[in-house]
């Protein structure tokens, strides 16, 4: 499984994301000779507990995430961030969760956009939209390097490519930048060999960040 970094757009203080930024980012990928290949889409749902009135909410996780990824559409990933747990399941687990009626999906987000080929790299640029309202919640970028599946061994080349990308994008003077957050995969019981569970954990991590950013803008 090729290594992947998942980046998210961090607007400068006082700014928000908008579709103009998304268009500029896509143009920038093409300007460094990224070849457009097709569309991609991932989905992420927040599951929240259904509690009786007398329940003590602190005894239950506030939420967990359910993630489906285009690489394995018949799989589904559940992530409990606070408890550092990621579960890989057949996508039928969604039906089981529905039938149990103990946790329900409250918010669902689509990550969708175009993918580009750039030598040994594959780049995916996508908007984050709520399924209910279609409003733009954020921008993400997947940066995949196909020849290597070791997180550690790929670190140097990924870091270098990230720098090149940031430099190319900086010429456009956009009010923000892409951020790479590196989760501690070991805490989730994951090894250094990259898997889709690593991708799910990265999505869960950037979600936290995006929520924090949205809240700070609102306040």
């Amino acid at each position: 499984m090729p290594i992947k970094w998942i980046l998210h757009w961090q607007p400068n203080a006082g700014h928000t994301v908008n579709s103009q930024i998304l268009a500029e980012v896509s143009q920038c990928v093409e300007s460094i000779n990224g070849v457009k290949e097709g569309k991609w889409k991932a989905t992420l749902s927040f599951y929240r507990p259904v509690l009786k009135e007398q329940a003590n909410p602190s005894e239950f996780p506030r939420d967990f995430l359910g993630i489906s990824l285009p690489e394995q559409p018949n799989k589904y990933y559940l992530v409990l961030r606070g408890q550092r747990l990621v579960l890989e399941a057949d996508s039928t687990i969604q039906t089981i969760m529905e039938k149990l009626q103990s946790y329900k999906t409250r918010v669902a987000l689509n990550f969708e956009g175009f993918q580009y080929q750039l030598g040994d790299f594959q780049l995916r640029v996508g908007k984050v939209v709520s399924i209910q309202s279609e409003s733009l919640r954020g921008i993400v970028m997947e940066m995949e390097y196909r020849p290597i599946s070791s997180w550690e061994k790929s670190h140097k080349i990924m870091g270098e490519f990230f720098d090149i990308w940031q430099e190319a994008l900086s010429k456009r003077s956009l009010a923000g930048h892409f951020v790479h957050m590196e989760p501690n995969f070991g805490e989730f019981g994951l090894s250094g060999q990259y898997t889709l569970q690593h991708t799910a954990v990265q999505y869960a991590t950037i979600m936290l960040q995006m929520i924090a950013t949205a809240q700070s803008v609102r306040n």
Partner: protein, 217 residues
């Protein structure tokens, strides 16, 4: 959805049943060793109480885990007329940390079992699975090596086949007609409707064992 019937057989006749199944199915048996954990939702979780089963297949070199949810069975006049139970059943193969996940979500262990025996999977009008197993309980938590039979000398036989809302009556008919072949050895009925062992079992088993070329004591 699935169609299901169950029955019981004395352990002394299991070998004869195996010979019969081998002849009927034309496939080899698979060994079965499943650790089954039944979890129930804590008292304050969910709009109503819920139950889920985690199955750990101990026959695999690296144990594999499955989550199974068994829903309500079909009711009404139509359901009464057929001799098999039709119920919703959903399974999902999962990674090995699934027990921890359900504990964190607020589920509690209700009971656990170890099923040891064999299974046949074959196509006969439907994708039928027959499992023959002794059901064991654990004296200590998760101690599958120290499991003891719940009903010594008796084994559980289960015949299941996946079905859908469109084809369940055909699948139920296939399961019923297959069960008739087993009738001399055991009676299969809807789960919860126990009919006990059949009086012809000893004679049928003796006959099968002699045909099977196995020495009978």
């Amino acid at each position: 959805m699935e169609c299901v019937v169950q029955g019981i057989i004395e352990t002394q006749h299991v070998e004869a049943l195996e010979i019969l199944l081998q002849g009927l199915c034309g496939v080899h048996r698979e060994r079965l060793r499943i650790h089954e954990l039944c979890l129930k939702s804590g008292p304050n979780l969910g709009s109503e109480a819920s139950e889920v089963r985690l199955l750990c297949d101990l026959e695999q070199p690296e144990p594999t885990w499955t989550v199974r949810h068994v829903g309500g069975s079909m009711r009404g006049a139509g359901a009464d007329q057929i001799s098999v139970l039709v119920r919703t059943m959903v399974e999902s193969k999962v990674s090995k940390n699934v027990l921890r996940l359900f504990y964190l979500l607020g589920y509690k262990l209700d009971h656990e079992l170890l099923r040891v025996g064999f299974a046949f999977h074959f196509q006969r009008g439907a994708q039928i699975a027959v499992t023959v197993s002794s059901v064991n309980k654990m004296l200590k938590l998760h101690a599958t090596d120290e499991a003891v039979p719940v009903t010594p000398g008796i084994q559980l036989v289960e015949v299941t086949a996946p079905a859908s809302a469109e084809n369940y009556s055909e699948v139920a008919a296939s399961v019923s007609s297959f069960c008739e072949y087993l009738a001399p050895l055991l009676h299969l009925s809807k789960p919860g409707v126990s009919t006990g062992v059949v009086p012809t079992a000893a004679a049928a088993a003796a006959s099968l064992m002699s045909y099977g070329g196995t020495t009978i004591m």
